[in-house]
Amino acid sequence: MSQVIDVRGLRKEFTVRVKAGRLRREKRVVTAVDGVDLRVERGEMLGYIGPNGAGKSTTLKMLTGVLMPSAGEVRVCGLRPVAERTRLALRIGVVFGQRSQLWWDLPLRDSFDLLRHVYRVPAAEHATRLRRCRDLLDLDEFLDTPVRQLSLGQRMRGELTAALLHGPEVLFLDEPTIGLDVVSKQAVRGFLAELGRASDTTLVLTTHDLADIERLCRRLVVIDHGRVVHDGSIAALHSRYGSRRLVVAELDTALPAPPTLPGAPLHRVEADGHRLVFALESAGVAEVVAGLAGLAALRDISIVEPDIEEVVARLYRSPAQV
């Protein structure tokens, strides 16, 4: 079976009690996940995003056996997460950005050693994986520091290592870069990219930081109000919601009239006509440059990638578009 994750019609309802009047409380059913279908191939790196409360973490908890689905079929590594929780646990790794798998009062090294026993990993295998993580994540300088004294960035590098020491087939990451500084974010992303490149570990990542997705994932699943509103490549998201790459041309002298180039309409005119911004539709960068070169003296050309953040923000605001 090449599908590591197979989810069909997944639903999760919570019953919450809300105040209704002075003493009375009413039961209300909230649907956190509302019919999610998801199939993930071995080795895929999947970004799972959505606004707060969209159902991201709830989905992840159902995939890892922490929560029981209200309805729907879930198979991870061919196993039912809740019913076969301990068997599944041996085959997946989980990093919750806001929760820890490490022993607070013990040196980081001890947590790794404990997890070797918890996951019953042969000593040699464990040593090889730990060595690799130590190299890639620069753990050596704080390996003997108690976890409670680590910075958030150091701790997160420890958490990643902890989740990988038993060689999981799937790694679930719930907001792994939350609260990290730029340098630590880069370290975490670089490590995950390397992991995806060098192994066939499947990666499912939830995040609020779209830079994580752009750096790591070719496939993006956007969830809103418990439903999947986009499942595909980042490029597909752009083309679907009309976001385009822009070509910014700096001119020595302003043109008397705005030029028209086939397949690349003029998007904006800035700096008194000295800067023209074209949106790429059917035309490529080369055609735009060639077209412009015949009209004016070019000082500089730059290309602006579409801003995924803007697209996703638009997506969140308009669930009706689906």
Binding site: A32, V66, R99, S100, W104, D110, H117, V118, Y119, R120
Partner: protein, 267 residues
């Protein structure tokens, strides 16, 4: 199976090392923890300062009951008592963390938060029990020798089951701590005295409805060779392992149902 045991042993070792990280406070706690159990015993001694008999029992006989009760409660509190912190485990995410590991959730929680400083209490309870049974003038038969070993262990299992069962209430109702305490600590106080001192529905409920009479009262009667003033036959003194197993089964079921409920509500 052996591998799982090794994993649990590793968790226990980690907990010991974690607590050793705070050595001074550990020693202070170790001493301080004896206090609570000393009070249980002193209360009974004080009572016998004003009366020669309590519910038809002499001081030496009553001490057997106290010894069984304080040893069993202190040991169960050491091994299982911290499960009352379940709401905290849920809030801090520890509960989710143990659910994604390939081991049982309950043993992990117990081992990862085992309050080793309570060891002093259990040892004090054991000392009281040893002094009580050796000075009560028990007519030792082989059967009573077996009972004096089995009854305290059954009582530990029973109290452990009570701790787990009451803690599972917090899966449904987070602020259930006080209710749980009234059963666990209430049970300890109840079992420190012969059930004959209590009366009416209260005795029926605690002693037989919940089974607390089989922690210390009935085993003590059997050890002392006394008939039950309340009329239960002599075998009642030997029933405590059975009662403990029933309680353990109830606790295991309550835990499983509670975890399932958690899984269907989430956090």
């Amino acid at each position: 199976m052996a591998e799982r045991l090794a994993a649990y042993r590793a968790l226990l070792g980690a907990q010991a090392r974690s607590q050793a990280a705070y050595r001074t406070s550990f020693v202070v706690d170790l001493v301080g923890n004896v206090g609570a159990t000393v009070f249980d015993v002193v209360t009974v001694l004080v009572l016998f300062g004003v009366t020669r008999e309590l519910g038809g029992f002499t001081l030496r006989e009553a001490l057997v009951i106290v010894g069984l009760s304080s040893f069993a409660f202190a040991t169960a509190d050491l091994l299982v008592g911290n499960i009352e912190r379940l709401p905290r485990y849920v809030r801090t995410g520890l509960f989710d963390a143990v659910l994604v590991r390939p081991l049982g959730a309950l043993p992990q929680l117990l081992l990862m938060d085992l309050p080793l400083r309570k060891v002093s209490r259990a040892l004090f309870g054991l000392a009281v029990l040893v002094v009580a049974v050796t000075s009560a003038g028990i007519d030792w038969t082989p059967a009573r020798l077996v009972l004096v070993l089995v009854a305290p262990l059954a009582a530990v299992v029973f109290f452990g089951a009570v701790f787990v069962t009451t803690a599972t209430v917090s899966f449904y109702w987070i602020d259930s701590g006080e209710l749980a305490n009234s059963v666990t600590y209430g049970g300890r106080d109840f079992t420190s005295y012969p059930v004959t001192v209590y009366g009416g529905w209260f005795r029926t409920l605690f002693a037989y409805g919940m089974g607390f009479a089989f922690v210390s009262y009935h085993p003590a009667l059997a050890l002392l060779g006394r008939a039950d003033p309340l009329g239960l036959p002599a075998w009642a003194g030997w029933a405590s392992p059975v009662v403990a197993l029933v309680a353990a089964a109830v606790a295991a079921t309550a835990w499983r149902v509670g975890v399932r409920h958690y899984r269907s509500t989430g956090s």
